[in-house]
């Protein structure tokens, strides 16, 4: 795999950012976009645009086919058993809100419990919190250990007869821990509990096989997968999409509308009310092709190697303290620097063109437990190289120089 050739496919790296070569280490936040994805949006709007699923004219039919093709591409990419198990949403956040809202409405009562983990991003906590208010459900958090991992045992000991849903991250966006989701799913199903996996960090970096994992729901963020913003995917087993009520009402999701009542459309239209992010969906098809061309196994191997290199380099730097040391780790390097706040680090690094994230990364529960208000995070994508890690380390040393004056 030639990273230079891959990097050349991303136009963002052609230009200087504030007179520096861009060292982009914020892919867990959002990835950069290959030219094929950007071009696809332009081509669709300039040559092929029409709304989908409604009109019968040529462009409408062609656009509908393109849109539905992406659904099949996503289905194949994650090995779901049916294209109707793929629902497009405005993001992973909406995907999780969709499940929390409709599942809560239909199946949850006061006193029921939802089991999350302390690693969760706010988007896999706040939607459940609404049910705590509206339905009086309880939310429990499986603890992470000193390595920043959530183990099968930690999940198991928090399951009670009241547990009605387990909702967990695939890969922590702070500690990088990859959770044993297949084993957790097996455990959940042995107790008749459905499981939702927040796959925002898992999907861009790991090979996915829904039929093998067997989870009930899997939420994906397309803009972290070299795709456009404003788009997410909810994978849900067909039995759930049939059983749950619609999420939003509007055009496109109905069968028949009368003054006396309404019947709803078939899958997947039932969950796709209104005009969808058509251009983004079609362009996301190019992201899948891009990933397939390189091969997710190759991406995984490259990022894993680079993460190890990053850990080595940062461990050698005495001022840096890495957050979490999970045995099974994704390409996330969160850290603190002696006596320097994460925001100051990020500002100083930015001056060298090194883009990282600083803050709580939408994981306040995790940061509270660690007693930290903020951490710095370098996260990797397919375009990163050892050189990027070295530049990160150089800039971190510069931070020390500025603060040790």
């Amino acid at each position: 795999m030639n990273i230079d050739n891959i990097k050349k496919q991303f136009p963002i790296f052609d230009n200087k950012v504030q007179n520096n070569d861009l060292v982009y280490l914020d892919s867990a936040n959002s990835s950069q976009k290959p030219k094929v994805v950007v071009d696809r949006i332009y081509d669709f709007y300039t040559k092929e645009f029409s709304n989908v699923g409604r009109s019968v004219h040529y462009l409408a039919v062609a656009a509908t086919n393109l849109y539905e093709n992406t659904r099949v591409m996503v289905q194949k990419y994650i090995n779901a058993s049916d294209p109707n198990e793929i629902v497009f949403t405005k993001g992973a956040t909406e995907a999780i809100n969709l499940v929390a809202n409709t599942f809560g409405q239909k199946f949850l009562q006061e006193g029921d419990e939802i089991l999350l983990t302390e690693l969760e991003h706010h988007s896999n906590y706040v939607p459940w919190h609404y049910l705590r208010r509206s339905k009086g459900i309880k939310i429990k958090f499986a603890e992470f250990n000193s390595d920043g991992e959530v183990t099968l045992e930690s999940i198991e000991k928090n399951i009670t007869p009241k547990t009605k849903m387990i909702a967990i991250t695939h890969l922590s966006n702070v500690t990088g821990a990859i959770l044993p989701i297949k084993e957790i799913t097996k455990l959940a199903h042995s107790k008749n509990i459905p499981i939702l996996v927040d796959g925002c960090q898992g999907a861009p970096h790991l090979k996915l096989d829904m039929q093998d994992i067997d989870c009930d729901f899997y939420a994906i963020s397309c803009h972290k997968m070299y795709g456009p913003t404003g788009l997410g995917v909810l994978y849900a087993k067909k039995k759930w999409l049939d059983a749950l009520p619609p999420y939003q009402g509007g055009g496109g999701m109905i069968r028949e509308v009368k003054k006396e009542g309404i019947t709803f459309g078939d899958l997947p239209n039932k969950y796709e009310a209104g005009t969808m992010a058509t251009a983004q969906v079609i362009a996301f098809g190019e992201s899948i092709k891009f990933l397939n061309k390189i091969g997710i196994e190759n991406i995984e191997a490259h990022e894993s190697q680079l993460t190890q290199y990053g850990e080595e380099v940062l461990r050698k730097n005495n001022s840096v303290k890495l957050i979490g040391s999970p045995k099974n780790k994704g390409s996330v390097l969160s850290f603190t620097l002696d006596g320097i706040h994460a925001h100051d680090i990020a500002t100083i690094l930015d001056e060298d063109g090194v883009a990282i994230r600083a803050g709580h990364h939408c994981c306040q529960i995790l940061h509270d437990k660690l007693g930290l208000s903020a951490t710095a995070r370098a996260s990797l994508g397919v375009y990163n190289t050892k050189d990027d890690i070295d530049k990160l380390n150089e800039s971190l040393n510069k931070c020390k120089k500025i603060f040790d004056r």
Binding site: I340, H341, A342, D344, T347, I348, A374, F403
Partner: protein, 152 residues
């Protein structure tokens, strides 16, 4: 180099060793401020006497060098200031940090102005302006004795 303007020695000094960083034992007004973007927190405690003058001021909190230095310098400058003066200084500071090249208020002595102007480098870093202003907004809330934090 702009970074050196941002991280002047006086900022680093106040950032590393913030003055008045303690919970005041004897306060009658307070307010908490929070930057949800980064998780920085500040809690300002005031003892305001019968003449509407700040007789004691302290703060608690955690955050970046800019936010700590700003709270530290602010609490130093606000001691013994009357309510009207506090308002004038807060407004003047907020205008300076966003656009004005200088401080306009005549309340401060020259050396005090110099100290406060050390924060002016923040102007070039729009994402960091909130770090510098959080303590000042919180002070305004404390003067009104209204807590700015809401939880749901």
């Amino acid at each position: 180099m702009e970074l050196k303007e941002l991280y002047q020695e006086i900022i680093l000094d106040h950032g590393k060793n913030p003055r008045n960083l303690k919970k005041s034992d004897n306060f009658n007004k307070d307010a908490a401020g929070h930057n949800p973007l980064c998780g920085d927190k500040v809690h300002v405690f005031l003892k305001v006497d019968e003449n509407n003058k700040i007789s004691d001021i302290a703060f608690e909190g955690s955050g970046c060098a800019i936010s700590m230095a700003s709270a530290s310098i602010m609490t130093d400058l606000m001691k013994e200031k009357k309510e009207v003066e506090v308002k004038e200084l807060v407004d003047d500071f907020l205008e300076m940090i966003k656009k004005n090249p200088e401080l306009k208020s005549k309340i401060l002595a020259e050396d005090e102005k110099t100290k406060l102007m050390s924060l002016s480098g923040v102007k070039k870093y729009p994402m960091r302006v909130k770090c510098a202003t959080m303590a000042w907004h919180t002070l305004t809330s404390a003067m009104k004795n209204s807590n700015t934090e809401k939880s749901d």
